[in-house]
């Protein structure tokens, strides 16, 4: 049943790995070319030159740049992310703690967005040109144009400040009065994640809708849709079972672009809601010149994107049996 040849897959994996290596090198160069360094915050005016040299020595800044680069590349291959100067903790620990929090936010938004978006896109594409299509489409474009931090503020204003229904920051209740059991923790997290997810999906679903709508519209002219109609199937069945399925293919490839959008969105959202994830730490670490943390976050997000690209290629072939990768090579 596999439509992807092993050779093709192996080639793709090697290329993905090389892509990651180049991204890492680019990161190293870019981060090092930012003015300033994290040790400026550690140096106080009373320090002697030797003390400063010692701090530089501890953080490996006295080594030549090429040496730092090679160390960096080799360390990352072995999963050694180094130590964060600002958090004074191993970067790997920080990442392990923060990664799941961001993935929860990502996963939920991704799922909701990629259910609502294609559904609405299917509907609009099918009835393209109708009054409903026009009004819903223009409204969704308006949503898409909102700055994500601004819409979060509006949500916080309504649901937290005015109504007091949902918390506006953090992942847990800060001083809980309840017992810490698996159930209460789950409930507490859900309670806190509600507003971030709402703000993120409020804008995010439009992306997949925008891909689904035109492809759905194209599919309506296809012969098999005509045939389905001729068979006397109901409008609903034709739309969902015959047309929508085929229109989903470009949406699957669009998922990578959607992911990039989501990363951007979640960085802002995490900052607005004080969500202690990767998006928050990536901004602060870049601004504080905390290179080890910044490198690791960039790297992990890059890994996420590269893996997603691989996965979408595989999903692609299952959605569309006509596509065969790696044959005839």
């Amino acid at each position: 049943m596999t439509r992807i040849s092993g050779k093709y897959l192996a080639k793709r994996i090697v290329v993905s790995y090389l892509t990651l290596l180049v991204i890492m090198s680019l990161l190293f160069v870019l981060l090092r070319s930012m003015p300033g360094s994290f040790i400026t915050s550690m140096i106080s005016s009373g320090m002697t030159n030797e003390q400063i040299q010692q701090i530089r020595e501890t953080w490996g800044l006295n080594e030549p740049l090429w040496r730092q680069y090679i160390d960096f590349m080799i360390n990352y291959q072995t999963g050694n992310f180094g130590r964060s100067p600002t958090y004074n903790a191993p970067v790997a620990d920080l990442m392990i703690r923060r990664m799941p929090r961001t993935l929860v936010l990502f996963g939920a938004t991704f799922l909701i967005g990629f259910i609502i978006g294609p559904l609405v896109g299917m509907y609009l594409g099918w009835w393209r040109g109708s009054k409903k299509d026009k009004s819903i489409f223009s409204t969704s474009l308006l949503l898409y144009s909102m700055p994500s931090f601004w819409i979060s503020w509006l949500f916080i204003w309504v649901f937290n400040y005015e109504l007091g229904w949902l918390p506006s920051a953090y992942m847990f209740t800060q001083f809980p009065e309840f017992q810490w059991t698996a159930f209460t923790v789950m409930r507490d997290v859900l309670y806190h994640i509600a507003l971030p997810i709402m703000s993120l999906t409020f804008i995010g679903w439009v992306g997949s809708m925008l891909i689904m709508r035109p492809t759905m519209n194209q599919v309506t002219d296809e012969g098999y849709v005509f045939l389905a109609h001729a068979k006397g199937l109901s409008e609903r069945t034709v739309m969902i079972k015959h047309a929508a399925r085929n229109a989903l293919i470009p949406v699957a490839t669009g998922a990578v672009v959607g992911l990039a959008f989501l990363i951007d969105g979640s960085i802002i959202i995490e900052n607005v809601f004080n969500w202690p994830g990767m998006g928050q730490i990536i901004v602060t670490s870049v601004l504080n010149r905390d290179f080890p943390v910044a490198q690791a976050t960039f790297f992990l997000l890059a890994v996420l994107v590269v893996i997603m690209r691989l996965v979408t290629d595989v999903v692609y072939t299952y959605l569309d049996p006509r596509i065969k990768f790696g044959e005839g090579e």
Binding site: V15, T19, L20, V22, I23, L26, L27, L30, L31, S33, M34, P35, K134, F137, S138, L141, L142, Y144, S145, M146, P147, S148, F149, W150, W153, L154, I156, W157, Y161, P214, Q218, D221, V256, V257, A260, I263, D264, I267, I268, N271, I282, V283, V286, L287, A294, T297, F298, L301, A302, V305, V306, R309
Partner: protein, 320 residues
Amino acid sequence: MATGQGDTESDGESYTRRWEPRLERLKRGWSRYSEHNIGILGLVILGIFSLWAVVPGVFAPHSTDWVAYLGEPPIESRLTAEQVRSLPHPPAFGDPFFAPLGTNANGNGILSLVIYSASNAMYIGLAAGLLSSLVGVPLGLISGFYGDTWIDEAIQRFVDIMYGLPFLPFLIVLVAIRGITTTNIIIGIAVTSWLNNCITIRGETLSLKERSYVESAKVAGASDTRIIFRHIMPNVLPISFVFLAQDAAGAVITQASLAYLGLADFTANSWGIMLENIKSQGYIFDAWWWLLPPGIALMLMAASFYFIGFSMEDVTNPQR
């Protein structure tokens, strides 16, 4: 697009012959475009913003240096403690001063600030959109034209690499390296936003280069450069306008997001900076007249670009 060609005939008749079909096409395009209410709406909104950008003084009730109670500069006196306490002041019409959308915490009129900021958003949107098209379209053309060669492979791998870097943090790094100015923000946005452009144009070019007119141009001995830019490019330009509009909208929003993170040229007036100010001065939930107008302006500006872009898409889409 193609006026500078060395035609020997240059009398009036050939001029009409050359331009009539183009005008005709333009008219047909316009009639398809104007079927979309949102396309017209987008143009109207953008037109108003352009007027704000070009002659803000006509629309704004006062200058950006105007201060509540004290009026236009030069200002000699200072605000009394009671007056300071009343800031940010809700909308007032003549009593104690005239400010239709109220003031911010420094006493500047919100409406004037919103109007004077239009030029900044317009500039960033158009410049970043144009710049990313200028990078993305040629690269997409070249990549598509030399499809399945090492040139294509190299460009596509480069696109892959750029996709792997998260846009916003990458932008922060770029801006941090080059310094926070409006120009650098524009360059940074363009560097991160040409990718979609490039991929779509490449796909288009891949199918266009199999057309017979490209074949005949090849047989006639046209160089690759000539085929790419003279024969293929005019056919992908409409799509690239769609992307230009979308990139422009994205740039406007991205600039606001950067401002939210504290990365903006704070000497300029911009909607993003107005929103950053309301956050840093802590009036998000207390001053709706300060919170809503910049956000709505941002939304409408980006939306107008999207409206125009998606209506254009329909003009360029031959299917229907």
